[in-house]
C-alpha cells in the first residue's frame, strides 16, 4: 500500500482523528487556523492528505472545506490551493496511488467496528415493488448501529433485482468497513460474480466502464463526479452493450440513451457528494423488459431544492414529496439560471408513454410513476407515494418495456408551448 507523501499512515490517521473529534465546523476552523498561520498540523503529516482524508469522512466535512475555499473567508491563497488539491485528491483526479475513499478510510481507522447481518430472503425487496420500502427500512435500521460496520449480507432468495443491489452497494460504500456476501442459491452467487457486485462490494474494486457479461446485464458501474469523461460515456455505453446483444432498434436506442444520460447528469449536478453513485442494468429478453437503477448518497432531492437560490422554488419544496414531484415537473429546477428543468420530466414522460415504471426515492419518500394501457383503452399516467425510512441520497430506478414505443418526438413536443417561435429555417 502506498504511504501518503511526507508522513506515515499512522501519523496521518492520528491527525485526522484529532480534527475529526471536533466535528466538521470546529474541526475545519481549527485546521484553517493551524494551516493559515503557516503552522501545519504536524511537520511530518502532509496537509493536503489530511484535508483529503477529512473531506472523505462525510459530506458535511467536504461542505465545510469547500466553504473555506470560496474566497470569501479571507483565507490565505496557499490554504485555498491546498484545499482544492485535497478535494481533487478525494475525487481521485491527481493521485491515483494515494486515493482515500471513504471505505478505505474506514478500513484503515483504528476505531472499533460493529458487526451486522442483513438477510435478504424476499427478492421483491430488491425490485420495483412495495417491499422495496422494507429493504430501505432495514438498511436504515442497520445505519442506527455504530458505524462503520463489518457486515455479512446473506442472500437466501432465489433471484435478485438490480435496483436493490445498486442501493446496497451505495449503502456499503458509505457505511461498511468490510462486507462479506453469502448466497445460498448458485444462481444468485453466479449473478453476484458476473455483475461485478462481489468485486465492488466485497473486494472494494471500482468498475468505471460499464461491461456486459453476456447474460443481458451490465455490471455494477461506479459513477464518480471526478471521472467526468468516463461517466459521460456510461449512458451511451450501456445502450450500446444492450443493443449488441438484445433486439433493440434505433428508435428505442436514442430515447434510452437520453434517459440514462439525464439520470447520470443528475448525479453530477445535484447530488453534491464525494461518494460515488452506482448504476446497474438488466434486460429480460423473454419478457421484453429493461431495468436500470442509479443510486447516489448525495444531499437528496429535498435538500437540492431547499438550497436553491430561487426563493419561489424553496417555498414550493416544503416536503420531500413536493420536492420529488417538482423534480419531475417540466421546467422546474433547483438551479434556475444554470439548468432547464427538462431532464427528469422527459424521463418520466417517456416511461409513462412506454407503460414502464419509474421510481424516485429520496429521504423518507418514494414516488412511483407508471403508465398503464390495457387492451381496450389507454389509462393515463399514474403515480403513488410511499413513505419509507430515511435514505441519505437519491435512487432513480426505471423499467422500460422494450416491445412498446418510446415516443421521443411526442415528449419533446410537450416541452414547447404552441405560440413559441421556430428558430429553424429563417432566411
Amino acid at each position: 500500500m502506498t504511504s501518503p507523501p511526507g508522513g506515515s499512515e499512522s501519523e496521518v490517521r492520528r491527525q485526522v482523528a484529532e480534527y475529526a473529534e471536533l466535528g466538521p465546523r470546529r474541526g475545519v476552523a481549527r485546521l484553517v487556523r493551524d494551516l493559515g498561520s503557516n503552522r501545519p498540523p504536524d511537520a511530518s503529516g502532509h496537509p493536503s492528505i489530511i484535508l483529503a482524508a477529512l473531506a472523505t469522512i462525510s459530506d458535511a466535512w467536504a461542505t465545510e472545506l469547500r466553504k473555506r475555499s470560496c474566497g470569501t473567508h479571507k483565507c490565505p491563497k496557499c490554504l485555498q490551493r491546498l484545499i482544492e488539491r485535497a478535494l481533487a485528491e478525494v475525487r481521485g483526479a491527481n493521485t491515483p496511488g494515494a486515493k482515500l475513499s471513504q471505505r478505505n478510510i474506514y478500513r484503515r481507522a483504528r476505531q472499533p467496528k460493529s458487526e451486522g447481518q442483513l438477510v435478504i430472503a424476499n427478492a421483491d425487496e430488491l425490485g420495483l415493488f412495495e417491499e422495496h420500502s422494507d429493504f430501505i427500512r432495514r438498511l436504515h435500521e442497520l445505519s442506527q448501529q455504530r458505524l462503520p460496520m463489518e457486515l455479512e449480507v446473506r442472500f437466501t432468495c432465489e433471484h435478485v433485482y438490480v435496483h436493490g443491489l445498486a442501493l446496497l452497494a451505495a449503502w456499503c460504500e458509505r457505511n461498511a468497513a468490510r462486507v462479506s456476501l453469502v448466497a445460498e442459491h448458485d444462481r444468485v452467487a453466479q449473478y453476484l460474480e458476473a455483475t461485478g457486485f462481489r468485486d465492488v462490494v466485497e473486494k472494494c474494486q471500482t468498475i468505471r466502464e460499464p461491461r456486459y457479461d453476456g447474460e443481458h446485464h451490465v455490471a455494477l458501474t461506479c459513477v464518480e463526479r471526478s471521472a467526468r469523461d468516463a461517466a459521460d460515456a456510461v449512458a451511451k455505453r450501456i445502450v450500446e452493450l444492450f443493443a449488441g446483444h438484445i433486439d433493440l432498434d434505433q428508435e428505442a436506442r436514442d430515447p434510452l440513451k437520453i434517459s440514462f444520460a439525464e439520470l447520470v447528469e443528475n448525479v453530477y449536478r445535484h447530488a453534491e457528494s464525494n461518494s460515488p453513485a452506482y448504476v446497474m442494468a438488466q434486460a429480460y429478453p423473454a419478457t421484453q423488459k429493461l431495468h436500470v437503477a442509479i443510486v447516489d448518497t448525495g444531499i437528496g432531492v429535498y435538500n437540492s431544492f431547499r438550497n436553491s437560490e430561487d426563493a419561489a422554488i424553496r417555498a414550493r419544496a416544503r416536503t420531500e414529496l413536493q420536492a420529488i414531484r417538482m423534480a419531475v415537473e417540466k421546467r422546474v429546477t433547483s438551479k434556475t439560471e444554470l439548468h432547464s428543468g427538462y431532464g427528469l420530466f422527459v424521463v418520466r414522460r417517456l416511461v409513462e408513454e412506454n407503460c414502464g415504471t419509474m421510481l424516485v426515492m429520496s429521504g423518507r419518500t418514494t414516488l412511483k410513476f407508471w403508465g398503464h394501457r390495457d387492451w381496450r383503452e389507454r389509462i393515463g399516467p399514474q403515480d403513488r407515494a410511499e413513505p419509507n425510512r430515511a435514505w441519505k441520497g437519491t435512487e432513480v430506478s426505471l423499467m422500460f418495456q422494450l416491445d412498446r414505443p418510446l415516443p421521443l418526438l411526442q415528449v419533446y413536443g410537450e416541452l414547447s408551448r404552441p405560440e413559441e417561435e421556430d428558430f429553424f429555417g429563417r432566411p
Binding site: 436506442r253 440513451k257 437520453i258 444520460a261 447528469e265 432547464s340 427538462y342 417561435e421 429553424f424
Partner: protein, 104 residues
C-alpha cells in the same frame, strides 16, 4: 464566405452538459470571428440523439449569452430532424423567453 459549424462532426450522440459546454465554447469562438453582417450556420445534420441537458447547455446558453436580437440576426439553424428541431426550439424559447434580460 458563410461560417458553417457541423454539430455532429465529432459525435452523433450529444448527451451531457459537459459535451454541451465544449461545443458552445467552439461556437462562441467561431461567432467572434464573424465579419459584420456575416452569419454563423449551425448544421444539425447527422445528429443521432440529443438530450435536453445538452441542448440547453449548448444552444440555450449560447443564445442567452448573445442575446435574442444578436442570436436571431447572426445565427442560422439548419439540417435538424423533427425531434432535434422541437427540442432546440424549446430550449431557445425558454432561454430567450419574455422577461429575460438582454446582455449589456
Amino acid at each position: 464566405m458563410p461560417q458553417v459549424f457541423r454539430v455532429a462532426e465529432r459525435e452523433a450522440d450529444l448527451l451531457t452538459r459537459g459535451q454541451g459546454e465544449l461545443v458552445r465554447a467552439q461556437l462562441v469562438e467561431l461567432h467572434e470571428t464573424l465579419a459584420p453582417g456575416e452569419r454563423l450556420t449551425i448544421d444539425f445534420a447527422g445528429v443521432s440523439a440529443m438530450t435536453p441537458s445538452f441542448a440547453d447547455e449548448c444552444f440555450g446558453k449560447l443564445a442567452e449569452r448573445l442575446g435574442a436580437n444578436v442570436f436571431r440576426s447572426s445565427v442560422r439553424l439548419v439540417g435538424a430532424d423533427e425531434v432535434v428541431r422541437v427540442l432546440v426550439n424549446s430550449v431557445l424559447a425558454r432561454r430567450l423567453g419574455a422577461g429575460r434580460k438582454e446582455p449589456a
